[in-house]
Amino acid sequence: MSNLANQLVIAERTDLARGIKLLLAHPLIRADTDPDGFDLVRRRKDTLTDWFDYHCGWALAVEPRLGYARLAKVRSDPDASRPARRDRSSRAPFDRRRYTLFCVAAAELLGGPATTIGLLADRIVQATAADPVLTAFDAAMRSERMAFVDVLRALESFGVLESIDGSTESFVDSAEAKVLYRVDATLLMRLLSAPNGPSQPAERDQGADPDEAISALVAESRYGNAEQGATEVQCNLWLRHSVLRKLFDDPVVYWADLTEAQRAYATSQAGRQIMRKAAEQGGFVLEERAEGVLLVDPEAMATDAKFPDDANNAKVAALHLLDALGTSRSGRTAEQLRGDAESVLDRSPGAARTYRYSDGPSRLVNDAVAVLVDFGLARRDGERIVALPAAARYAVVSGFPDSAGGNPS
């Protein structure tokens, strides 16, 4: 029997690691799109809930009957690198109009369990007309209908809407299109994961600082607050959660980006111990260095993008730019990097079709730098682009003799 017990423990350990990675990559897992993943999370519900609550302070809600699991990710410093994207081949990020319509549509969808695209559009027309801030929705314009359809498709992809009859896309061509939807209101409410409702601060003066608005949104009373102060327990909880949230959600955690207290915690014996254990439980490799720490996911399961990768020209170029950036401590300007981009374009004439215009190299540099910034390998410092320490992981040349063994090329 001891053998069986061992097997069960091993199974639980792999399940836990897989569940953690799945939820990190997809905070909303639905049974009808990912039955295996959902089944795993449902089976290991308690273990996963405890794990996320202890390490990151994130609540995991699993609804076995309704068929979804939602990890309410709260980021202490939300960044712009992971926007909502259109459910189209371009994967273009949402713009202001789409974000706005998304929220208005969500509010209107809470009204009932079923609706049609025309009724919903009417309600949005009314809602936007009655609101002094919002631009009125005009279903007569094709661009507006396009934005509306993108929003509905996003809602469909989250499982909030289910089209029972007709296709959402047909609304682009005609506002008369007939599409019947079933609305999952509970899931819709779960989409909002911020600990504070945006409508809670009763009066918000228009044009307030967005940073303040965002920090008000994500402030959590469990860690104490400025007025009442925080107890030692709350402080420790906050340190653990805030550091591990960064560790598990962001590509690199640099000590330099942390507050004094966070840095002290992260570099302390206890902090390191917790990070190592958590990484191991999640099936990650923890890379600890003098400047910071990062998680490596060898299966690339808990990540939305990979680097280095050949997924697009920008990523290929980004890898090349790292070489140039690595040689200069003070960084380089985009103009200086242009030459490298051009050489990438020259070497892969067929592949870089999208950058074959007069400003192609500049745009390639821009996109490549965006990749590096998103992966925590570089930052923009005014005009200059400066490589961050972790960029050295991928560098091909180095002044240090011990690099020879590390790089096969």
Partner: protein
């Protein structure tokens, strides 16, 4: 006819016509220029208008055929100027009268507020019942029938104009979102109450009207209209054409009445449509009211959160803030991590800076060609189980067919080839095969030829009877003619009936 209503002088022209119209009502059919002026004053027209202008305007109207000009010689004129001023008198032509009526009607429509009045419906039902009562009594005078018909038509007209006008206003009200919230709120609340009042008992009232309508129609509509015509006392100036026209009008009005309450073709009565419009409007207005009340209460809750969030998105400064706000509010983004690790990460001490730690293994191909080698993934092996299953079942089927053929061919003793008679093609092929095998062998000492199929399951014994008879074997593909051998086909396998036969 309505040329006077356009152009720079339209207002003056209209005012003058209006003055003539008023005068006509006082049975004053001809006006001099001074009368026109004084009546213009009475009609609230105070703009400066010189005699020349006025004369010019009147002349214009006369030109358009709206006014008749007559010389008035009946009066006593003291001076030549006075004669010039006053000898011309103007009166409305028939077209002028129509134009006047048109303008008056247009103004009336502009000013009147549409209404849905239950009183109108009640009145209509009453008038119809009355009409039916009159028809029941054979002694009723035609005159009374005429006035009753007119009253019914009047009520219908009131219902019709009221409903159209009201519906127009209702739709305008529904469209006009975003007006001043306070008045909006009151107007809509009042409208909802009004509509609800109307819709209540609408069915009952409609029913009363329909019942009365049925009673009247029992007496025959044509007869009713004929009697009403004789009661109408049309003036002798109207000819036969006019009476026909009059009857046609009555008929079309009656059809109108029916289309409102009981259409002959069984389509939806318009009163029901009105009902539907009213109910839809109530729902729509209540929704808007809800929204206004909710906005006032500053209610929290998910819907309010989403709305507030929409406002944040609408007012955020930069694109970057939009994405950050999305990330903060919804937290739907994926984590992002490196995927290349050292082969043995434990070899590097945690205090090593990244710059001095060994690099991770980046694909050389990615650097040189911009592509990664896909060594991690093996080629996908095609799933052949379906194909295998298909083949197995086909083989089984073929086997079964073959065995059936053998069984069909097993003779159970020596028979003439001709006794096979007619065979299906598959079985015939087998037989041909067997015969071919047998004929390919040499006769043994007893004059028999023996052969087996390739799998050794069937044996054929062939003997030439030597009587030179010929056999005919028919299949659907043709007929085989040949010597009529004696054949004995046996199954050598464990088939029980074959054993028995052998």
């Amino acid at each position: 006819m309505f040329r006077f209503a356009v152009g720079a002088q339209a207002e003056a022209h209209s005012a003058i016509l209006h003055a003539f119209g008023e005068a006509n009502e006082d049975l004053c059919t001809a006006l001099g220029i001074d009368d026109v002026r004084s009546r213009l004053r009475a009609a609230d027209w105070f703009d400066a208008l010189t005699d020349e202008d006025l004369a010019e305007r009147l002349k214009k109207l006369a030109e358009w055929g709206l006014l008749d000009v007559v010389q008035n010689h009946a009066e006593n004129y003291r001076t030549a100027t006075e004669y010039e001023r006053r000898n011309l008198h103007y009166s409305l032509t028939k077209a002028g009268e129509a134009a006047c009526a048109g303008v008056r009607h247009a103004l009336a429509v502009l000013n009147e507020a549409g209404a849905l009045q239950t009183a109108v419906l009640d009145a209509l039902a009453d008038r119809l019942t009355e009409l039916a009562g009159l028809l029941d009594d054979p002694a009723t005078a035609d005159r009374r029938l005429f006035s009753a018909v007119q009253e019914v038509e009047g009520r219908l007209e009131a219902l019709r104009t009221g409903a159209t006008g009201f519906n127009g206003e209702l739709q305008r009200l529904l469209r006009a979102d975003g007006a001043d919230l306070d008045t909006f709120h009151e107007v809509k609340a009042a409208t909802v109450a009004y509509l609800q009042e109307f819709v209540t008992n609408l069915d009952q009232r409609t029913h009363a009207v329909v019942a009365a309508l049925g009673r009247v129609e029992e007496h025959g509509i044509d007869e009713l209209h004929r009697r009403a015509l004789s009661g109408a006392d049309l003036p002798p100036t109207a000819g036969e054409h006019a009476t026909q026209e009059w009857l046609r009008h009555r008929r079309s009005r009656w059809d109108g009445l029916r289309s409102w309450f009981r259409p002959a073709d069984g389509s939806t009565p318009r009163i029901d449509q009105l009902h539907a419009v009213a109910r839809r409007a109530i729902v729509a207005l209540l929704q808007v009211l809800d929204r206004i009340t909710e906005a006032r209460r500053h209610s929290s809750g998910a819907a309010a959160d989403f709305r507030e969030l929409a406002r944040w998105f609408a007012t955020a400064d930069r694109d970057e803030d939009l994405h950050r706000l999305w990330s903060a509010a919804f937290g739907l983004g994926s984590a992002r991590h490196a995927h290349l690790a050292h082969e043995d990460p434990e070899l590097v001490a945690p205090s090593t800076p990244w710059a001095q730690a060994p690099r991770v293994r980046v694909s050389a191909l990615l650097r040189s060609n911009g592509r990664t080698e896909k060594f991690a993934r093996t080629g996908k092996v095609r799933d052949t189980s379906a194909v295998a299953a298909l083949r197995a079942s086909r083989a089984r089927q073929e086997r079964a067919e073959l065995e059936a053929a053998w069984r069909r061919l097993a003779t159970g003793g020596e028979v003439r080839l001709s006794s096979f008679g007619e065979l299906e093609p598959g079985v015939f092929d087998r037989l041909l095969d067997l015969l071919g095998r047998a004929l390919a062998t040499r006769e043994d000492s007893t004059g028999l030829r023996r052969a087996c199929t390739g799998d050794g399951q069937v044996e054929i014994v062939l003997r030439d009877p030597g009587d030179a008879r010929s056999a005919r074997l028919r299949t659907s593909r043709g007929t085989l003619r040949g010597a009529d051998y004696l054949v004995d086909v046996r199954l050598l396998t464990d088939s029980p009936d074959a054993e028995a036969a052998g």
